[in-house]
Structure formats: C-alpha cells, structure tokens
C-alpha cells in the first residue's frame, strides 16, 4: 500500500501515511464516522512497519493507551470525531501536565452530542483549545487538502515531540473524506523531530529542564529510571506537590512552551491579502469553497477578494493578521467563513479591534458552504 510516491488518497488515509512517515508506530482508538478510515488504515499499515494497532473499548481507553505508548517511547496517535473528542478531554489535560507527546485527530461532525454523523462541521474549534479544564498548552492544526493532511500530520508529530504537548489535528468531513492526489514524501526527505533524551543531565529528575529551554529531556519509561507520572502538579522527579512556587513555575513553563515559541508553531496561508478589499478568513475544508469563490470572482472584474487561512489555528497567527491590517490600505471588510455559529470570528474580532468591519458566514445544517454563498455574502456586505 505504501509503494507509490504519488497516490489518490482520502484525507483520512493521508493522515495515517503522514503519521507513519513521521515515525508513528502506535495507534489506539475507537472508530467513529467520519474518522473511521484513520483507524482502518492504521490497522492495515502499522503492522507492516513494525508498529502496533489496538482497538480499545471506548474513546477514553483509546487516548489512554496512546499516552502509555508514548511514555514508553513510541510516537502515538488516536483519532475520533466530536462525541469521542468530548470523552478524550480529560486525558488531553493529562497529556498537557504530564508532558506526553501525542497527536489527537478530531474529524469534526455537525452538532452537539452524536449530532449528524456524516456531515461536515467546524464546531469543535473552541473545544480544541479549551475543551479540557485549566490553563493548558495545546497546538491545533487544521488542514484543507489531502496533501496538507499528509504534510501537516508530520508537522503535528514534530510539534508534539519538540514541545511534549498534545497536538490536535482538527479536520472536517470535507477534507477527511475527500480523495485527491497526494505525494507521499519519504521520511528521508522530511524534517522529523524526535523528543530529546539526555539522561546524563536528567539523572533521576525526569522533569528537569535545561537552562534556557522550556521542555524537559525525555526519560523513557520502563528503561530503568524511577520517576512518577501524574496529573497533579509535581516536582522534578514527578511526585506530587502543593508548593505554590513549584506550581506557578511549572504552570508558567507549560504555557511558555507555546507562547514563547509561537513563531515556530504558527503557520498560515495568505492569498492577495496585501491589496484585497474583502478578506475572507477561514480554516480547514471551508477554504476550498473560498478558493472556489475567488476563482469565480476573477471571471468578473469586481471586488478584489483575499483569503487569510490559519493552518495552525491555535495559537492563532495573531502577528500575521495584525501585519495585514496594518499594511493593506484597501481592506474594507472581513468575512469569517466557518461551519459553525461563530467561533473563529470571536478571535478575529478580538484582534481586529473594530478597525475593519467583521461579518460572519456560518452554516450549521450539515451541508457545506458553497462558493455562491460566499459571493452572495460579499454582495450583501460590500
């Protein structure tokens, strides 16, 4: 199956191939539409590369087993959709405080609870950042093509390894079930990051951090070092503490891992943002309809449309958006297009601070936003 370099793949399948290229050797989960093909392909492909696949009893078991595998040294992934993503939240927080690298894929579907199993949605955007309780670090990446599913899964694993954080791969049904051509770039041509191991430095202190760094060196669990893994705030050896100084420094360091390294984490795409009059902000599969609208608008000599698309959706690429706002003197209107009732728009409004009008184009009926609807919206507001 790996074989050919250029293949027609589903977005869900490309995630597995990207994961394997990045070094994923463990997958555990509980299948759920529209993410099931990720479990299916992992079951097929992991044994071929010496990895393990396990179907657990539920979604919580799915992420728990993957966390265990990761602590023992394997690159691990789990995948789900909204209902399962809700169940995994507790262990996402555990991954954050215990600093366990993991990639969690959420192929979003419409509505709360079990909602609409097979319909596209982007209603988990805020949940992906805030779903688990407490201040915590998280990186969220959202792809808009099958090729990006491949490339960005590699980046998701790299980020998880480098920063020892849970990385959420926030997909939607549009991209998950789409088949497109995909180049399976072999690992030797990719940048692959691995967690750092420096046993001499750490000694018995599994959570000791080197000067000037924010991430502890990794101590492979079960390889002879005695340390503890807990969801409680802990000392450098991993054992719980109530000390307010330790708590403060640990919590700050967890958050600083992301905030002080934003420039290495943020990623976005800009199309005609330097002189567009209307800028559409979108992410994931919605971008394809926006691009379709831009194609159609080129046929008429009408208003100039631009697109700003966060690929890393959290942390949101703030500096990039501020730069556009500062330099584009033609910009008269921002439209945030997303398959929800208004989530990314909140972040956009916060950053725009009223300097440009911001309107929303949302859809929550389980159908996709079309290029025509985007053009209609532009006519309505501009």
């Amino acid at each position: 199956m790996a074989g050919k370099r250029f293949q027609v793949l589903q977005g869900n399948e490309a995630v597995v191939e990207g994961g394997i290229a990045a070094g994923m050797r463990f997958y555990s989960g509980y299948p759920i539409t529209p993410s099931t093909e990720i479990a299916e392909r992992s079951a097929l492909r992991l044994p071929q590369v010496g990895g393990k696949f396990i179907q657990m009893e539920d979604e919580i078991g799915g992420i728990a087993a993957a966390l265990g595998a990761s602590m023992a040294g394997l690159k691990a992934m789990t995948a789900t959709s909204g209902p399962g993503f809700s169940l995994k939240q507790e262990n996402i927080g555990y991954a954050a405080i215990a600093e366990i690298p993991i990639v969690i894929v959420d192929v979003q579907r419409e509505g709360p609870s079990t909602g609409l199993p097979t319909s596209p949605s982007q209603g988990d955007l805020m949940q992906s950042k805030w779903g688990t309780h407490g201040d915590h670090p998280v990186i969220v990446i959202s792809p808009s093509s099958v090729q990006e599913c491949y490339n960005e899964t590699v980046r998701a694993f790299n980020m998880a390894e480098r920063f020892r954080v849970p990385v959420i791969f926030l997909m939607d049904e549009i991209v998950g079930h789409l088949r497109e051509g995909c180049e399976l770039i072999p690992p030797e041509e990719l940048t692959i990051s691995n967690r750092r191991v420096d046993r001499e430095f750490n000694g018995t202190l599994a959570y000791a951090v080197q000067e000037g760094n924010y991430v502890p060196e990794y101590a492979p669990f079960g390889s002879g070092d005695h340390f503890n893994v807990t969801g409680l705030f802990h000392n450098l050896d991993g054992f719980p503490t109530n000390d307010s100084e330790v708590t403060d420094s640990q919590e700050r360091r967890l958050l600083d891992k992301i905030t002080k390294r934003r420039d290495r984490i943020e990623k976005w795409e800009e199309v005609d943002t330097d002189d567009c009059e209307v800028m559409i902000i979108c992410f994931g599969g919605t971008a394809r309809a926006v691009e379709g609208a831009m194609d159609a608008s080129h046929q008429y000599d009408s208003v100039k449309i631009g697109m700003f698309r966060p690929i890393t959706v959290w942390p949101f690429p703030e500096a990039a958006l501020h730069k556009i706002l500062k330099h584009n003197k033609h910009l008269r209107q921002i439209i945030v297009a997303e398959h929800n009732d208004g989530q990314m728009i909140l972040e956009v409004q916060r950053l725009v601070e009223g300097t440009v009008p911001v309107t929303h184009l949302g859809k929550i009926d389980g159908t996709t936003i079309t290029p025509d609807e985007i053009l209609e919206k532009i006519k309505e507001v501009y």
Partner: protein, 182 residues
C-alpha cells in the same frame, strides 16, 4: 482538460463509488488533478447513492459538484433524484431500464445504454456494471489514457476477475462509441 465534473449514481452496492475512484485514479495517473467525493451515511445505504469525480489540468479548488458535465444513473430512483441538478450542457448516461422524458432527451445529449443487462448477460458478472460505466464515461469524456484506466481497474477488482473486468471496461467504451455513431 478544463474542469470536468462527473456524477455517478445508482443504488447502494452497485459500485458507483468505486467507479468514481477508478476514474479519479486513472486521470491522476495520466497527469491530471482530481478530486473525488461520495455521499455517506443513510443516503448511501439503500435508496440512492452518488459519487463524484472532478478532473482538471489545473489545481481543483472547490471540490464539490453542483451541476455535473456528465450524469450517469443506473437506477430510476437515483436518476429522478439527481436530474434536477444538471445544466444545459450536461451529458446524461442512463441504463436502458430508466425512463427518460422526451423533454430531457431534447434538452441534453442522452445515452441510453443497456449497462445492467450487459453486466449480467455479456460479462456474466452483475458487479461489473460500474466498470462498464467507467468505460462509457471515458469513451465520452476522454478522462484518461486507456492504459491508465485499465491499470486503475486492476488495482481494485478481486483476483480472478481481472480479465472479465477489463472486458467490461472495453465493452462499455464500445457501447458508447456505437451509440454515438447511430
């Protein structure tokens, strides 16, 4: 080729999804850009099922089909369901068991072909209707070189059925060619 959109429809189990995947793989192998989508869930179980492939020489931005350039239907139910979503230039291909109104015949280029009968009686494999359909579509639209499409068919059919499925592919092409000539 310019952006070309194909919609195949039928009842669940007739393999229209596989048909569009084969078309997509063949066109991709032939150097074109492709996007393939299908309906899932209740819509795909029983009743009518549809799948779509978009082919273009350029990058495909929007991946959904609104009004296809070719609509192929294997059942009356699916034909009636998807007929409203066509444009004037849409080519219509239907199995000969499907009733097509005179009005539709006047408005469109229509191919009425015994696809299901050919699968059962000529190829002796009912499951080959989708492969016959691929032959028909490729003969009409020239999506991919025949080598590429044969290769894509062989990637997907069960062992032991290779030859009959290649026959099905070329039988579909022949039916379309002969229909055009008459």
């Amino acid at each position: 080729m310019a952006r070309t959109e194909v919609r195949m429809s039928g009842s669940g189990g007739q393999g229209v999804i596989m048909g569009t995947i084969i078309l997509a793989e063949a066109a991709y192998e032939d150097g074109k850009q492709v996007a393939q989508c299908q309906s899932y869930g209740p819509e795909a179980r029983g009743g009518s099922s549809k799948a779509e492939t978009i082919i273009s020489d350029n990058r495909i931005h929007y991946t959904k089909v609104k009004y296809p350039d070719l609509l192929l239907s294997l059942t009356q139910l699916s034909f009636d369901k998807y007929l409203p979503d066509v444009k004037d230039s849409t080519i219509i291909v239907v199995d000969s068991s499907i009733e097509v109104s005179e009005e539709t015949k006047k408005a469109h280029k229509v191919y009425i072909l015994p696809i299901l009968d050919a699968a059962a009686e000529v190829i002796k494999n009912k499951m080959s209707a989708n492969i016959i359909s691929c032959g028909v579509v490729n003969e009409i639209l020239h999506i991919a070189d025949w080598d590429a499409i044969e290769h894509a068919v062989l990637n997907h059919v069960p062992k032991g059925t290779e030859e009959s499925n290649l026959n099905a592919l070329h039988y579909g092409a022949k039916m379309a060619r002969e229909y055009s000539e008459n």
